[in-house]
C-alpha cells in the first residue's frame, strides 16, 4: 500500500484547486508578468489532471519565488539560486511526484548558474520555469544576467559592460532535452508549452518572459511577439540540435533588437531521463525510495551483515 495516496489519483481536477482557499494578498505589482506564469501553471496542471498534493513546486528567491504563496500544492520556497538541487533530489527520492522548479533570471542564470548547468546536463525529469524580466525586481531594479549590454542601474551607473547571458543556448549546450521560450502576455501559448514541458520525460527548461512594469519599463510588455512555430519565416527542426542552436542564437540576439521570438526551440524525445539512466546502471531502486519507509514488510539491511570484510 502506498504511503502517498494523492499520487496518481487520476481524477478530474479543476484549475481552481490550485488557488489557495484563502489567497494571500499578492506582493506582485499590477501588470506584473508573474501573474501570467501563475495562471498558465494552474491551467496546465488542471489540464493534465494533476492533484495539487502530488505536485511539489520548488522556488528560489525573488518576486518569482513568491509563486508558491499563490499556487496551492506542496511547496518549498528555498534560498537564492538553490531551487534546482532541492527539487531534483525530491524527484530522485520520490519519482512519482510532479516536480516543478521556478525562479528568476538572477536566481537561475546568475547565482544558481552552476546548478542550472548540471541539472540540465543530468536531464532530471522535471520542469524548470525561469521568470525572465531582465532585471532584479525585488531588490529594486539592479542589472541582472539577462539585462542588455549598456543597461543602466544603480549598481551599473555607467551602463553594463557585459553582454547578457544566452539562456536558451546555455540550456541546450548543458543538456536540457526540452527548451522553450514563452511570454506572460501570451497565456494560451504559455499553457500549451507548460503542458508539454510537464509531460516531457526529462529536463524541460522554459525561459518565461515576464514583464516588470515597475523596474524594467524599457522591456515594454514583450509585444508584439512572434510564435516561431506559427510563422513561416522561421523554418527549423526542433529535433535537430544544430538547427535549434542557430535559431536560439538568433532569438536571443533579436530580443535586444525589439523582436520577441517565442515557441519551442528544442525537443529531444528519445533521451532517457536521469532516473532511467540511473536505474539502468543499478544505482536507483525500481520502487520510489520514499515508499520504503511506509512499507511494513520492507527488509532493512543492517551493517552487522556487512562485517565480513573487516574480519
Amino acid at each position: 500500500m502506498s504511503g502517498f495516496n494523492a499520487i496518481g489519483s487520476d481524477r478530474e481536477v479543476e484549475r481552481e484547486e490550485f488557488t489557495p482557499g484563502i489567497e494571500p494578498q499578492a506582493t506582485w505589482c499590477p501588470g506584473c508578468g508573474d501573474f501570467g506564469v501563475l495562471k498558465a501553471l494552474k491551467g496546465a496542471m488542471a489540464e493534465l489532471g494533476r492533484d495539487p498534493e502530488e505536485v511539489l513546486l520548488v522556488t528560489g528567491i525573488g518576486c518569482s519565488g513568491k509563486l508558491n504563496s499563490y499556487f496551492e500544492s506542496y511547496g518549498f520556497h528555498t534560498i537564492h539560486g538553490r531551487s534546482l538541487p532541492v527539487a531534483r533530489a525530491a524527484k530522485l527520492a520520490n519519482p512519482d511526484l510532479e516536480v516543478v522548479a521556478a525562479g528568476g533570471d538572477g536566481d537561475g542564470y546568475g547565482i544558481g548558474g552552476n546548478h542550472f548547468m548540471h541539472t540540465a546536463r543530468e536531464n532530471h525529469d522535471m520542469t524548470y520555469i525561469v521568470f525572465n524580466n531582465e532585471i532584479f525586481g525585488l531588490t529594486k531594479g539592479q542589472t541582472s544576467p539577462t539585462s542588455p549590454k549598456g543597461h543602466e542601474s544603480k549598481t551599473q551607473p555607467h551602463g553594463s559592460a557585459k553582454s547578457p547571458i544566452r539562456p536558451l543556448s546555455l540550456a541546450l549546450t548543458s543538456g536540457a532535452s526540452y527548451v522553450a521560450r514563452t511570454a506572460a502576455v501570451n497565456p494560451n501559448q504559455a499553457q500549451e508549452i507548460l503542458v508539454e514541458a510537464i509531460e516531457h520525460d526529462g529536463f524541460a527548461h522554459i525561459d518565461f518572459l515576464t514583464q516588470c512594469p515597475t523596474w524594467n519599463k524599457d522591456a515594454k510588455q514583450y509585444v508584439p511577439y512572434i510564435d516561431v512555430q506559427q510563422n513561416d519565416d522561421y523554418d527549423f527542426d526542433i529535433a535537430d540540435r544544430g538547427e535549434a542552436a542557430e535559431m536560439m542564437q538568433r532569438t536571443e540576439r533579436s530580443l535586444y533588437e525589439g523582436e520577441v521570438l517565442t515557441g519551442r526551440f528544442y525537443h529531444e524525445t528519445d533521451r532517457p531521463s536521469y532516473g532511467e539512466e540511473k536505474r539502468e546502471v543499478g544505482e536507483m531502486p525500481e520502487e520510489p525510495l520514499a515508499e520504503q519507509y511506509h512499507d511494513d514488510d520492507y527488509e532493512w539491511e543492517r551493517s552487522y551483515d556487512l562485517l565480513d570484510t573487516h574480519k
Binding site: 489557495p20 482557499g21 511539489l56 511547496g75 533530489a89 525530491a90 527520492a93 525510495l289 520514499a290
Partner: protein, 630 residues
C-alpha cells in the same frame, strides 16, 4: 605497560603502504591482538613519503603510541630527484631518514638497501649506536625482482618482518589469498616465504617479538569512516549527496559503494552547496538523507544548513576536519573547525553537533545524530577529523549487532494528517506555534500525502508556512525552534548512557583533562600513565558539543582543582566553548594545543600535563610547536 609492537612501514606514496599495513594489521588482529593504526600521508597521488603505524598489543589499544619500535623502510620508488638537493630535499632516503626521530631505543630497522644508501643519512651509524638500534639491511627490491616484480618488495618486507618477530605467516597468507589469485598470488607467496627464510637464517641481535594474545569476543577492524557509514545505514539512511574532498571522501565513497546494493541512492554533484541542498530535498520528500564534507566544502554548506534549520528539515551532515584555514594542509588532522561547525550560517544556531572519540562512538553517535535530526526536525552534524577517519582499530563485533531503525521520526501518516489541525484555507499546519509536544516539535507531512500540503520556506512563516513578518508569530516560532535544543539536552541527560566518556583510573582525582572528539583515546592513555606515576588525574572526553552537556562538564570541573584542555587547534576553541557555555571555571582551565599537522601522542599529553599543572609556574597555554617527536 603491556607488551606491544609498534610497526611502522614507510615508503613512497603510491608504493602500496596502505594495503600492506591493513593486511598486516588484520593478520595481527586474527592472531588475537588488539590493533590500532595511525596513517600519515601527503596530499599527492604518487610521490612524497608516507607511513602507517600498526600498534598491536595484548591489551586494548586506543591511541597511537609514542613512536615505534620496528621500522620497515621500503625506499621511495617514486622519488623524483634522488641525486640532487632539491627544494624538498633528497627524497629517496626519506622513508628511512625521516622515521628515525620517532624510533624508540632498542628498536629494529629493516631497510631496503637496494634503494636506500645510509651513507646519505647524516650520522646514521652514530645514531644507531647511540640508540641501540638493531639494523637489518636487506635488498628487498632485488628479492622481489628475482622472483616476480619489483613492486612486490612490500611482500618481501612483510616476510622479513615475520621472521624478525617470529610471527607465523599463516594469517598473512590467508589474507593474500582473499585479495589476489592466480600467478600474482603465487608469486607473492613465494616472495613472502623466500624473504622469511633468508632473514630467518640471520643472527638476530634484538629481543622484540610479536606479542601473543587472545580476544574474548570476535573483533572487527574498522575505521571511523566505516563506523559513520554503518551508523547511517543502520538508521535507514538511503540517500547521500556529496562532492569529493579529503578526508570526507572516505565516508562518501563507502556510502556510494553500499547504497546502490541495498536500494539507496548516492549522488556526486557539482558542489557542496548542491550536495547539502540535495540532502535537504530528499529528506523533505521523505527519505533519510545525509551529506558532508571537510572544512572548505562545509563552508559552502552554511547556506543550506540555515535553510534546514528554518524549514525544520531533518538532515545529517558530517564534517571531517583537516588543518585550515583555506586549503590548509589537506591530509593533516586538526580540530580547528569547531566554531565554524557550531555557528556557521546566519541567525541563531539551531543544530545538534557530536564529535565522537573513537570508532565505536562514531557508529553510536551517527545513529543518535539521525535519531535526533528526524525526531526534532533539525540538522545534526557529526564532527570528526582525518585522524579518526583513517585510523583502523579493533572493535568488538557485538558493537554492530543492532537492529536497524529506519523510522522517519516526527512524521504523520495520512490517517493522522486527516485528524490533525488544518488552516481554514485547507493547508496543513505543519509549523504549529504551540505543538502538543512540549519539545517544540510540530510533526510534518510528506509531499504526496493526502491532506498534508504546506509551504516550507526559508522566510519566517506562519503555522501553515506562509511568509510572515508579524512580530508575535516571529517570537513564537523562533522560541519554539530554540526550545527544541533544551528538549534535546533534557532527553540526552535523561538517558542511561552518556555520550561523554569519563576515564578515572584512580579515585578522587584533583586534576582533570578535558578533550573533545578524536583525541579522547590519546588522553586516556596519558591519564593511565600519569596515574601509574602517582598523579591523581582523570579525563573527560566530550562528544556532545551542541547542545552542550552542561551538567556533566560542570560536575567534572567542580570535582577538580585544575584542568587541562587538550585540543588540536591554535586558538583553544574548545576551551572557549566550555567558558561560553558554563560562564565560569576560567581560572581553572589551562590549554594544551597542537597544530603542526599531527595528532597528539600520549607522551606529549603527559609532558604537557607535567609542564602545565605540575610545573613550578603553571602556564595558561602550552603549544607543541614543533611538537616533541614530530
Amino acid at each position: 605497560m603491556s607488551e606491544e609492537l609498534v610497526w611502522r612501514i614507510a615508503g613512497g606514496s603510491g608504493d602500496g603502504i596502505d594495503s600492506t599495513s591493513q593486511n598486516f594489521a588484520k593478520a595481527l588482529m586474527r592472531s588475537g591482538l588488539h590493533v590500532f593504526t595511525h596513517r600519515h600521508y601527503p596530499s599527492r597521488i604518487r610521490g612524497g613519503h608516507t607511513y602507517v603505524e600498526v600498534r598491536a598489543s595484548t591489551e586494548p589499544v586506543r591511541s597511537r603510541g609514542d613512536g615505534h619500535n620496528f621500522l620497515l623502510a621500503l625506499g621511495d620508488s617514486f622519488a623524483r630527484n634522488p641525486q640532487e638537493e632539491a627544494y624538498y630535499g633528497t627524497e629517496e632516503i626519506k622513508p628511512l631518514a625521516e622515521n628515525l626521530d620517532d624510533l624508540r631505543e632498542g628498536g629494529v630497522i629493516v631497510y631496503d638497501e637496494g634503494l636506500i644508501d645510509v651513507e646519505e643519512i647524516p650520522d646514521f651509524d652514530e645514531r644507531v649506536e647511540e640508540n641501540d638500534w638493531h639494523v637489518y639491511p636487506l635488498d628487498l627490491r632485488e628479492m622481489a625482482r628475482d622472483m616476480g616484480r619489483e613492486v612486490m618488495r612490500n611482500t618481501a618486507g612483510v616476510g622479513a618482518t615475520g621472521a624478525l618477530l617470529e610471527y607465523d605467516l599463516g594469517h598473512i597468507e590467508d589474507l593474500m589469498a582473499d585479495a589476489m589469485s592466480g600467478e600474482v598470488l603465487e608469486t607473492n607467496l613465494e616472495i613472502l616465504e623466500a624473504a622469511y627464510q633468508q632473514v630467518d637464517d640471520l643472527e638476530f641481535t634484538h629481543d622484540l617479538r610479536a606479542p601473543e594474545g587472545s580476544h574474548e569476543g570476535e573483533q572487527v577492524l574498522v575505521s571511523g569512516s566505516n563506523a559513520i557509514a554503518y551508523g547511517a545505514l543502520d538508521e535507514g539512511c538511503r540517500f547521500i549527496a556529496g562532492y569529493p574532498m579529503t578526508p570526507w571522501t572516505e565516508v562518501f565513497t563507502l556510502m556510494s559503494q553500499h547504497l546502490p546494493e541495498i536500494g539507496g541512492i548516492s549522488e556526486q554533484v557539482e558542489d557542496e552547496i548542491a550536495a547539502a541542498a540535495l540532502a535537504i530535498g530528499a529528506s523533505h520528500a521523505g527519505v533519510k538523507a545525509m551529506s558532508g564534507s571537510s572544512g572548505g566544502g562545509f563552508a559552502l554548506m552554511s547556506e543550506p544548513l540555515g535553510l534546514a534549520e528554518m524549514t525544520e528539515t531533518p538532515v545529517v551532515l558530517v564534517e571531517a576536519m583537516r588543518a585550515g584555514p583555506s586549503t590548509g594542509m589537506p591530509t593533516k588532522p586538526e580540530q580547528g573547525d569547531l566554531e565554524h561547525v557550531l555557528y556557521t550560517s546566519q541567525g541563531d544556531s539551531n543544530r545538534v553537533v557530536f564529535a565522537p572519540g573513537n570508532a565505536a562512538e562514531a557508529y553510536e553517535q551517527t545513529r543518535t545524530a539521525f535519531e535526533l535530526a528526524y525526531d526534532y526536525q533539525l540538522p545534526a552534524i557529526v564532527l570528526y577529523d582525518q585522524k579518526l577517519s583513517g585510523e583502523l582499530r579493533t572493535v568488538d563485533e557485538s558493537v554492530f549487532d543492532r537492529e536497524p531503525t529506519p523510522d522517519l521520526g516526527s512524521t504523520l501518516s495520512e490517517a493522522e494528517i486527516a485528524e490533525a489541525a488544518h488552516h481554514a484555507s485547507g493547508k496543513f499546519r505543519r509549523f504549529k506555534r504551540d505543538p502538543d509536544d512540549d519539545g517544540g516539535v510540530s510533526p510534518r507531512s510528506i509531499p504526496g500525502q493526502q491532506g498534508g500540503r504546506f509551504l516550507a520556506t526559508g522566510n519566517e512563516h506562519t503555522p501553515e508556512g506562509h511568509i510572515s513578518e508579524d512580530t508575535d508569530n516571529r517570537v513564537a516560532q523562533l522560541e519554539r525552534r530554540l526550545r527544541k535544543m533544551d528538549a534535546i539536552r533534557d532527553e540526552l541527560d535523561g538517558r542511561e548512557s552518556t555520550h561523554q566518556t569519563l576515564h578515572e583510573p584512580v579515585e578522587g582525582a584533583d586534576y582533570g583533562i578535558l578533550t573533545f572528539g578524536s583525541q579522547q583515546g590519546t588522553v586516556e592513555e596519558a591519564v593511565d600513565r600519569l596515574a601509574a606515576d602517582g598523579h591523581a588525574v582523570k579525563s573527560l572526553g566530550v562528544s556532545a558539543l551542541m547542545p552542550f552537556p552542561e551538567a556533566e562538564v560542570t560536575a567534572f570541573l567542580e570535582s577538580v582543582d585544575e584542568a587541562l584542555v587538550v585540543e588540536m587547534n591554535g586558538s583553544a576553541q574548545f576551551r572557549g566553548l566550555i567558558q561560553k557555555e558554563l560562564g565560569r571555571f576560567g581560572p581553572k582551565l589551562h590549554s594544551l594545543l597542537k597544530y603542526n599537522g599531527n595528532p597528539f601522542e600520549p607522551g606529549e599529553v603527559v609532558e604537557g600535563f607535567e609542564t602545565i599543572i605540575d610545573g613550578d609556574e603553571p602556564a595558561p597555554t602550552t603549544r607543541f610547536v614543533p611538537a616533541a617527536g614530530d
